[in-house]
Amino acid sequence: MIPLGTAGIPAEMFHLGSVNGSQAPFTGLLARLRFWQGVPVSGLEQSDLLAQTNIEGQNFSLLMYAEPDEVELMDRAAILMGTIEEDGEAPADSNRRTLAPIQSLAD
């Protein structure tokens, strides 16, 4: 396990793809990250949804439903390379492995 330091870090930050913004970077795919109030055995309703990642086109956002005043919308298209080509290949400037065709993903 990597060492997790506490010095000099900002309070209450949520990091996708790292610890404290730089450590232990992740290489891979992430989809439909959702936070729910409640557990599955009690039956989760849409109203229990607290937060979720939202990726539309090349815009990425983290929506927090429980705190509407704190909804964060961030446009990081240039960083994310979030679009998978129609033929299922990762962006040409990436060395990622081939992904399944888009038609298969949407079926």
Partner: protein, 136 residues
């Protein structure tokens, strides 16, 4: 359904293997524009909030694929929440892609699962203990 074990609170981890085409546990299809590509340069930082603290009872779900080939010298982190006293929790796929782990409350627990196929897998993390006021 598999138990991850006891940490600062009781956590239940459910993993479901999935192969493309991707269909979620609710029968929904994953569209490609919902997939976030992460690499060393693409981490994102957000202001935290109560919604993200996993205070029980709470459920966290996501789809993940670990696509690295060479094993890194650390356990790559999918996401993490920092509190005022440091990392509140963080979720990692282990470097060898053979387990997923949760760091919280000064402890770390891992559940063996094979992510080495590089395909999408669904993960659900449930914080259900009422013996502690918070997952943190």
């Amino acid at each position: 359904m598999r138990y991850l074990g006891r940490m600062s609170c009781t956590v239940l981890l459910i993993t479901c293997a999935a192969v493309l085409p991707i269909t979620s546990v609710r029968g929904e299809a994953l569209a490609t524009d919902e997939v976030l590509l992460l690499d060393v340069a693409s981490g994102l930082d957000f202001q935290g909030g109560v919604s993200l603290t996993m205070s029980p009872p709470a459920t966290l779900e996501f789809w993940v694929a670990a696509t690295w080939i060479e094993e890194p010298a650390y356990d790559p982190c999918l996401f993490s929440l920092e509190g005022e006293d440091g990392v509140a929790y963080s979720v990692h796929v282990q470097a060898d892609r053979r387990a997923i782990g949760l760091y919280a409350g000064g402890g770390y627990a891992a559940l063996p699962f094979d992510f080495s196929d590089g395909r999408m897998h669904s993960v659900t993390l449930v914080s259900y203990s009422r013996h502690y006021p918070s997952f943190l």
